[in-house]
């Protein structure tokens, strides 16, 4: 079984995140860049499947600037076998359409049985890219999976949307997005980090993928920091807080 795990380098959600108002892009200097935690859960699932099935190869795939290689090395240190890094200056500021086209081209170079990734990135939170890949690659998509098992070329999963819980069964190859119901990534070891340095990272440009640079179809018009939300009234309960809350709600027609 050959498993691709998609990774994205994102600004750390624990720090302040800023945008560059002139470009409308995330300000990469404003916060630490980390591998998205939800993608680590996808990698953990891949490692679990390899332990269970024995013969799996795990390939990390990312698209991003040179610095995104750190996110790949971190994943290789956790146990992935090799990585593919799509890096091209013409991809700076790529929109979802371009990103989907580019990642699909990279994935179609190899016969993956399974493509795993997070339900949505913690920066963009778009959550549409996996569906774009599924459409371009002609694969079934199992999104928002909460459990997963693979046996004899068939994937069985449970998934949970905002409204429904459902069980699905699809033939491989398939794309799966994981939710936080899957375990966190294991802790890396020094040995893993040492080994990661020797593992191969293939760099691909748009030319390698036989894609022409395309202008972004979706563009940022403007970006501005939202007005700070300030603290309002404060009361310390002395037995009358409930009445005060009810008054507050009634004044605003919220009861």
């Amino acid at each position: 079984m050959r498993i691709a795990v998609l990774r994205k380098q994102v600004p750390d959600t624990w720090g302040e995140r800023r945008m560059d108002p002139t470009t409308g892009r995330a300000d990469r200097d404003a916060s630490d860049a980390v591998a998205d935690e939800i993608d680590d859960r996808a990698l953990e699932l891949a490692l679990h499947l390899r332990e269970e099935h024995g013969d799996a190869e795990i390939v990390l795939v990312t698209m991003g600037p040179d610095a995104a290689e750190q996110a790949l090395r971190a994943g290789l240190a956790l146990g992935a076998d090799r990585a593919v890094h799509i890096a091209d200056d013409a991809l700076a500021g790529a929109d979802l359409l371009q990103t989907g086209r580019t990642l699909a081209a990279a994935l179609s170079r190899e016969a993956f049985d399974l493509v795993l990734t997070g339900l949505e990135s913690t920066d963009g939170r778009g959550g549409v890219l996996p569906a774009m890949l599924a459409e371009r690659l002609g694969l079934p998509l199992v999104s928002a999976a909460t459990s997963l098992e693979v046996a004899g070329g068939t994937l069985r999963a449970e998934r949970a949307t905002e409204f429904q819980a459902m069980a699905v069964e699809v033939p491989l190859p398939a794309i799966v997005t994981v939710t936080e119901r899957f375990p966190e990534a294991r802790i890396g070891s020094f040995r893993g980090i040492r080994q990661a340095k020797k593992k191969p990272v293939d760099r691909l440009s748009l030319a390698d993928l036989a894609l022409a640079p395309a202008p972004a179809a979706s563009v940022v018009v403007d970006a501005a920091a939202a007005p700070e939300r300030t603290a309002g009234a404060r009361i310390v309960d002395d037995g009358t807080a409930a009445e005060a809350i009810a008054d507050f709600l009634a004044d605003r027609n919220l009861i």
Partner: protein, 320 residues
């Protein structure tokens, strides 16, 4: 006037989800809302009446036998057919798991640009402009599309409903049987059908770890029911097993933008605030006077929720 397609979210039992009102509201700022719905056989009239009540004056529908168990495939096919019929200025879909699946597949199939998690759509100088609230509401970004029809996923509840249309003109489309992902078993989440869905609800009452147990979390349900609110939970409460994952509000859960967000025993980790800080009014009750959520609350109540909430339920009932 230009038209905007709005994909209706239809439950397996043939009812239209409440998000339709705010989705039609978002579309109405750009043009005439044309609702698109995949309906189980026999539910066409009930569904189109609901679409009219939401403000759509036109609908494109397809009856599909297994509508309840086919995942997103028929909706993508129907949107494609509707685009050919209507030539819309934009396509509006809910920013939900299913909505995003449909949006992504449709956009890739038609090479359309996507704008995600919009809190508003408008026309400015003849161009469609989409407003997004990003990085947990700390930045406001406006985007546009250069050529082509934008596919916009709209945060349910973030836009204002338009009110009912006088009449609805319904066109039916025949779809070929769809091959795709099919559920072998599906059930609706949430144990109370009378309680609003978290995403798109006008009021949300959320509980945190301070509730202490699954049994005591019922206090959140009771206050929510007295206010007619949806129930939410912090990740800590979900991880502790007090509430199901589907109720999680935050960075990795559901993002909500209700008129009222009332939090009980939630200190307010950055990830939680990211999921609710665009709520119009925020009331927080917590024992810790330094709880971060108090920094963004319109009303901060320092107190024991087990003392305050039962009295608040009585006070709310008394004012009904």
């Amino acid at each position: 006037m230009t038209s905007v397609l709005v994909l209706a979210e239809v439950a397996a039992d043939g009812t239209v989800r409440a998000s339709i009102d705010s989705l039609v509201g978002a579309a109405g700022a750009v043009g005439d809302a044309v609702a698109v719905a995949v309906v189980p056989p026999g539910h066409r009239d009930v569904i189109t009446e609901r679409l009219r009540a939401a403000g759509a004056s036109r609908a494109v529908v397809a009856e599909v036998a297994d509508a309840g168990v086919l995942v997103s495939g028929p909706q993508v096919d129907l949107l494609q057919a509707a685009v050919a019929l209507v030539e819309p200025a934009a396509v509006v879909v809910g920013h939900t798991v299913e909505g995003r699946e449909v949006a992504g597949r449709f956009a890739a199939r038609t090479d359309s640009a996507v704008a995600t998690d919009a809190i508003g759509v408008a026309v400015d100088d003849g161009a469609v402009r989409v407003t997004h609230s990003v990085f947990g509401g700390s930045w406001i970004v406006r985007s546009g599309v250069e050529g082509g029809v934008p596919v916009v996923t709209v945060r349910p509840g973030a836009t204002t409903p338009t009110g009912a249309a006088d009449a609805i003109d319904v066109e039916e489309v025949a779809l070929d049987p769809v091959v795709g992902v099919r559920a072998t078993d599906a059930r609706e989440l949430g144990d109370s059908s009378s309680r609003p869905d978290l995403r798109g609800a006008a009021k949300v009452v959320s509980g945190g770890r301070a509730l202490g147990s699954k049994e005591q979390f019922a206090l959140v349900d009771r206050l929510a029911d007295s206010l007619g609110a949806a129930v939410g939970a912090s990740r800590a409460a979900v991880d502790a097993g007090y509430a199901p994952q589907a109720l999680q509000v935050g960075q990795t859960g559901t993002t909500v933008a209700p008129d009222l967000y009332l939090s009980l025993g939630i200190s307010g980790a950055i990830q939680h605030l990211a999921g609710m800080r665009t709520s119009k009014t925020i009331v927080a009750i917590d024992r810790d006077p330094d709880a971060p959520i108090f920094e963004i609350a319109d009303l901060a109540v320092v107190g024991d929720l087990f003392q305050v909430v039962p009295k608040l339920i009585d006070a709310v009932e008394a004012r009904r």
